[in-house]
């Protein structure tokens, strides 16, 4: 009797277990939330699990994506997760989808989960709106959670009169305000806790007990070890997708709606013109020819401690934006040295680098404002794609984090 311990619970009972075994759940993203979610749903005896992820397993995933092991590096996450789930419970029907969810495939996929409990973890803004709209249009509840740094959030959208994601956030946030795990960091156990929480709510919905998170936001603060539940607004009559006169009646172009790309890793800003940017190959030849220049690394100190290029000067973007005097002074000193070295040229070149090439563009804009007034005149350029492009194209031994 595999499920006897949970069958003894009056809250679940035999009927609840039967309901579970007839339920299909689509898990969007087999990462830090999706792994524990899939694990507990499979262990509890869910009927069918769809496991969707477009990405491959990387070493930097393993601290939180606990279904994948060292030997799975380079494998599709969807396949790796499906194999782990099958080992755990062979009676669960398990379908891996190694693809990216899009306006073209989302509805068709979500409708294949007729028992209607689609549960997801989504790591970027366009996909959040896409999944929300697909769930509203096919009348499925959306058990959604997220985790970043030391915090987690969970809500069940589109469920028993509660709001959908658009009711709560009718307008997408400006792309530059969105931080993801590869930028902001996350302690592995935090998505672990939130993924387990999602599993709990899915099991309650699937077994027939129902979720109490339909009109609630649960916030978890790992630092203070505190959970809080907030009462949310009900479904909004004026909502663009679930309201009385919806303007969104089919899936739209979510990337242009949100002004950012839908893949977590490639969230790229484009703030500068072509002649304000150079490629990592260009920078390599500058280094090879020993052309005088200043390399400015604008990442936070905690990242510079992980890895950095030799000879770079580190001034975090925030210090530039706040015009921290000791940093500006340091910068000016290095410019003066460079000018002496160059004798004659009055605009020494400064190349700005960060992890992925977003913050460096912002830094170029700040430095251009400062050039000729707060510091000597300089020529500032951004190194496209940052240190991760350097690691990929120039120096494979440079750590990718």
């Amino acid at each position: 009797m595999r499920y006897s311990r949970q069958l003894l619970l009056p809250d679940l009972s035999v009927q609840g277990q039967l309901n579970l075994s007839k339920t299909s759940v689509l898990i969007i993203g087999c990462g830090g939330l999706g792994c524990p979610l899939a694990q507990y749903l499979a262990a509890a005896g869910i009927g069918r699990l769809g496991l969707l992820d477009y990405d491959e397993v990387e070493l930097s995933n393993l601290h939180r994506q606990v279904l994948h092991g060292e030997e799975n590096q380079g494998q599709a996450k969807a396949l790796s997760a499906a194999n782990a789930v099958r080992r755990l419970n062979s009676t669960v029907e398990c379908i891996p989808y190694h693809l990216q969810l899009s306006s073209e495939n989302a509805l068709q996929l979500i409708q294949q989960y007729p028992a209607a409990k689609s549960s997801t973890y989504i790591y970027n803004v366009p996909t959040r709106y896409l999944v929300n709209d697909a769930c509203v249009l096919s009348s499925k509840p959306l058990v959604s959670a997220s985790a970043l740094r030391m915090e987690g959030q969970l809500t069940v959208y589109n469920y028993r009169g509660g709001p959908c994601y658009r009711c709560l956030y009718p307008v997408p946030p400006p792309p530059e305000t969105v931080t993801n795990c590869s930028d902001g960091g996350v302690l592995g156990v935090v998505p672990g806790i939130m993924g387990c929480f999602q599993a709990l709510e899915v099991i309650k919905i699937a077994s027939g007990q129902g979720s109490s998170c339909g009109q609630q936001l649960v916030m978890f603060d790992a630092q203070d070890a505190r959970f809080r539940s907030i009462k949310l607004r009900p479904k909004q009559t004026g909502c663009a997708v679930c309201g009385e006169n919806p303007s969104v009646t089919k899936l739209v172009d979510y990337e242009s709606f949100c002004g950012s790309a839908a893949t977590d890793k490639c969230r790229k800003l484009n703030l500068l013109s072509r002649d304000q940017r150079i490629t990592v190959q260009d920078y390599q030849s500058i280094m090879d020819k020993a052309e005088p220049h200043l390399l400015l690394d604008v990442r936070p100190l905690v990242e510079v401690d992980i890895c950095h290029l030799p000879f770079s000067l580190n001034i975090p973007l925030s210090s530039l934006e706040e015009r921290k005097s000791e940093h500006i002074q340091l910068f000016q000193e290095r410019i003066s040295q460079l000018k002496q070295q160059m004798a004659g040229d009055c605009r020494p070149p400064v190349y700005v680098i960060c992890k992925l090439g977003n913050d460096s563009q912002k830094a170029v804009q700040v430095l251009e404002k400062m050039s000729g007034s707060e510091v000597d005149s300089i020529t500032v350029k951004d190194i496209c794609g940052g240190l991760m492009a350097w690691a990929k194209r120039i120096d494979p031994t440079f750590p990718q984090y």
Binding site: G29, G31, G32, L33, G34, Y121, I122, Y123, N124, V125, R128, A145, S146, A147, L148, R149, E151, G152, Q153, L168, Y169, P170, V171, P172, P173, P174, E176, T177, V178, T179, N180, C181, G184, V186, P191, M194, G195, L217, M219, D221, R228, S229, I230, K231, L232, R233, E321, E322
Partner: protein, 101 residues
């Protein structure tokens, strides 16, 4: 004259990074002729707590998209949003929605 109002402000989900990483603030809004409402509170926060990059916190006379406002553990939409009149000892939370996993 309305008396000064002591309230508890909290920032979370990353919004605290705009306030030097400090999540909790106990503040007293000075007495003024009309009662304090949320609209005036946002202006007060901008002038007194938020020194840098206001565009990451406010847009127009409200908060920027992606920040949820909670008054005494309820969505501010249930409380009248910008028109809500602050009471002594109110708890106001600004939480930025998370996008990670």
């Amino acid at each position: 004259m309305a008396a000064p109002v002591a309230i508890h402000l909290e920032f979370g989900g990353g919004a605290e990074l705009l306030f030097n990483g400090v999540k909790e603030h106990h503040v007293t809004l000075p007495s003024q002729s009309e009662p304090w409402d949320m609209k005036q509170l946002l202006v007060w926060i901008q002038r007194n707590l938020l020194k840098e990059r206001p565009e990451l916190f406010v847009q127009g006379d409200s908060v920027r998209p992606g920040i949820l406002v909670l008054i005494n553990d309820a969505d501010w939409e249930l409380m009248g949003e910008l028109d809500y009149q602050l009471q002594d000892q109110d708890n106001v939370v600004f939480i930025s929605t998370l996008h990670g996993g």
